[in-house]
């Protein structure tokens, strides 16, 4: 047997180009469906895990996919309507779930700004690598990837991206103090900038800070009555919350009408989840969705497309197998004299078949190892699709 192995090895070396070509063809034919299969499996697992860990999402009526993808993966969407903070109060008052506010319409240096509350970090078990959670208006805590990519740490500053660069009526970019950095989670939270929901209202221009009304330069006062003071749009609002000006930040109007993009509800029990969801969908001008169901629907469509590509992969493997079989068949014909020599020197009758089988198996094993290694390398260097979903 060792002699046959030696002969097979010498034959493969003697026909190096042919052997290498065969290995490459087989490896390529295996690599494509293998990588696609593993990627799909990872994608499916990660997406479902994130969705399954999020019991209930409540937002404005509209596209449930937009609502879910925005709340789970922080995908920016202009189409999401806001709901009022009163909705959160009302849901909280039902005492069926812990309700976590979410507001995500802004970015900071291209990364999504997720305005929420401390309960979000507790719910997702976001642990601090350094610093603290964003406990003050104007403070933010970075996801691990954001801190790594931007080279920022706690105590540094991060500017929000201006929404309308040439519209002076819009609030300017806010200089946010970085209060901490979260440890890496391997999920979408790594690529987000977290702040308190009140900071989002500053970014919206609903909350702001400026000098006292009585101290405003008279040149900027358009009118003054017993009840109100109208000031010019040229009055500069603070673009940073500092210890000195923090107390001047305030809201105008009814605070219960301040906007949120969604509420993440963590029901106390399955019964509470059912009652809360049905209650919201029946009574309120809101929609409640179960993220796992929405992602299942979405993946159902994706995996119908994948089935087609699986079929293409199957054809590729079958075609390659047929071609490889043909190559070995033709090769064995060409090696008739070689086999006859083996027979004449007294080798067993099965030696010829064993020799060819060893060559086939060897080629397949090397090709399989190569395709698996290539798959591993691909997965290593491919960007995390779920994190950047």
């Amino acid at each position: 047997m060792s002699g046959l192995l030696y002969l097979a090895w010498r034959h493969a070396r003697a026909h190096g180009a042919r052997t290498a070509l065969l290995i490459l063809c087989i490896a390529l034919a295996l690599w494509v469906p293998l990588t696609a299969g593993v990627l799909a499996r990872r994608y499916n697992t990660d997406l479902r895990a994130r969705a399954n860990s999020t019991p209930l999402l409540i937002g404005a009526p509209g596209n449930r996919y937009d609502l879910t993808l925005a709340a789970l993966y922080f995908r920016p969407s202009e189409r999401i309507e806001t709901i009022s903070y009163r909705a959160l109060d009302e849901l909280q008052a039902e005492n069926r779930a812990t309700c976590i506010p979410l507001h995500q319409r802004f970015t900071a240096r291209g990364f999504p700004v997720v305005a929420t509350s401390i309960e979000y970090a507790e719910f997702r078990d976001l642990r601090l690598a350094e610093g603290s959670d964003p406990l003050r208006i104007g403070a933010c805590t970075l996801g691990a990837t954001v801190a790594e990519d931007l080279g920022l740490k706690s105590g540094d500053f991060l500017y929000s991206d201006p929404t309308e660069l040439y519209d002076i009526a819009r609030p300017p970019a806010l200089k946010m103090r970085i209060s901490g950095v979260y440890a890496k989670t391997g999920g979408p939270d790594d690529g987000a900038v977290f702040c308190d929901v009140r900071t989002a209202w500053v970014l919206e221009g609903i909350a702001h800070g400026h000098v006292e009304a009585e101290e405003i330069d008279e040149a900027l006062v358009l009118s003054r009555t017993d009840d109100s003071v109208s000031v010019s749009g040229a009055l500069i609002e603070y673009a940073e919350v500092t210890e000195a000006n923090e107390a001047s930040f305030h809201y105008h109007g009814d605070t219960s009408l301040l906007p949120l993009t969604a509420v993440l509800a963590v029901p106390r029990s399955t019964k509470d989840a059912t009652l809360l969801k049905s209650g919201v969908n029946a009574r309120m001008p809101l929609q409640a969705v179960t993220p796992s169901a929405v992602i299942d629907d979405l993946l159902g469509v994706v995996f119908r497309v994948k089935a087609f590509f699986d079929l293409v992969g199957l054809f590729l493997v079958v075609t390659t197998a047929a071609l490889v079989g043909l190559v070995f068949l033709l090769s064995s014909r060409l090696r008739t004299a070689e086999m006859r020599t083996l027979d004449r020197i007294g080798a067993p009758r099965s030696a010829a078949r064993t020799l060819i089988a060893l060559e086939v198996v060897g080629t397949l094993v090397v090709a399989a190892c190569l395709s698996v290694s290539a798959t591993a390398l691909t997965l290593r260097f491919l960007p995390d699709l779920v994190a950047s979903f």
């Binding site: 509350s117 003050r136 992969g313």
Partner: protein, 312 residues
């Protein structure tokens, strides 16, 4: 299945090794503490009646509610408390700028009907030579109304019932009954002080230099004129309000007292006494001093006010 099974298993194993999104350990998050955290004297009283003084954590005890601002350590205390008890957004304006957890924050004012609050009259005033203006809003000292105080204690009791996961003392029920009885006794004494004030004032007008006494005045059937003197450290004051007070004091039918809800300004006290015939009285609505309970301080203050009212 187009992919050989052994190859798929091998690739999955390699996937685990090659995956770059592994999580990293971080600092353990501080656990929730089984306390009710408050940052004002009225909220402290209400929380203590509801859960007992041992489970109430008071922040900012050395500062007035409006002027207090939480430090970073205070914020950590607030977000790790099982419940944070607030009176209202206007009474505790710092809460609008702190990242408090909505699911663990109770705002007592939200549980009262809008009718429970007295709106501040649009008292027109000036700062020195500045233009005349006024401030809208509601009078925040709603706990000085015995009925509303009882309503807030009842509401807090309902919202805090069974929330704390601290081990319950064997005599917890007895202690709760005792706390409520002590509270009711103090409220009764406070109501008696209001009744006495009502008797002494006899429908005459009271003067005050700041908002806050409205609920007491309403309970005592005493018309109240608030003149926002807003005397600053430099001595600058609201001239418009001073003129208004002078005009009102000249009219008959007032009780001869000028109520201060903070330090009495000595120069103006003299003017009020000698020029207007008004006796200045400092009234503590529970936000000053320490030692005695909030209700006993308020009761004592009202007794002092009654004593200063001019005889009819």
């Amino acid at each position: 299945m187009p992919v050989p099974r052994f190859a798929l298993l091998l690739a999955v194993a390699l996937d685990g090794l090659s995956c770059g999104g592994a999580s990293a350990p971080g600092a353990e998050r501080a656990g929730i503490r089984e306390v009710v955290t408050v940052a004002s004297a009225p909220a402290e009283l209400i929380a203590e009646v509801s859960v007992g003084p041992g489970l109430v954590e008071r922040l900012g005890a050395d500062a007035s509610a409006g002027g207090w601002s939480p430090s970073n350590a205070d914020l950590v205390s607030l977000v790790t408390a099982r419940r944070v008890l607030l009176m209202g957004a206007e009474f505790e304006p710092w809460a609008q700028r702190a990242g408090l957890p909505p699911s663990r924050t109770i705002t007592l004012g939200d549980g009262l009907s809008r009718d429970a609050f007295i709106a501040t009259a649009t008292v027109s005033h000036t700062h020195g030579q500045g233009p005349s203006h006024s401030h809208g809003g509601v009078v925040l000292t709603v706990w000085t109304d015995p009925a509303q105080l009882r309503a807030m204690v009842h509401g807090a009791g309902e919202m805090l019932a069974g929330v704390l996961e601290a081990p319950e003392a064997p005599d917890a029920a007895t202690q709760a009954v005792k706390r409520h009885e002590a509270f009711e006794a103090e409220v009764a004494a406070y109501e008696a002080a209001i009744a006495d004030l009502k008797e002494r004032v006899g429908g005459r007008r009271l003067f005050a230099v700041a908002h806050g006494l409205e609920y007491v005045a309403r309970a005592a059937d005493a018309p109240l004129l608030v003149t926002l003197l807003e005397i600053e450290a430099s001595g600058e004051r609201n001239d418009h309000a001073a003129a208004l007070l002078e005009q009102a004091a000249a009219e008959p039918g007032h009780a001869g007292v000028l109520v201060w809800l903070g330090p009495i300004d000595a120069p103006f006290e003299k003017i009020a006494k000698e020029g207007l015939g008004l006796t200045s009285v400092r009234v503590d609505l529970g936000l000053e001093g320490s030692g005695a309970t909030l209700l006993s301080r308020m009761t004592k203050s009202l007794e002092g006010l009654s004593a200063a009212v001019a005889p009819r």
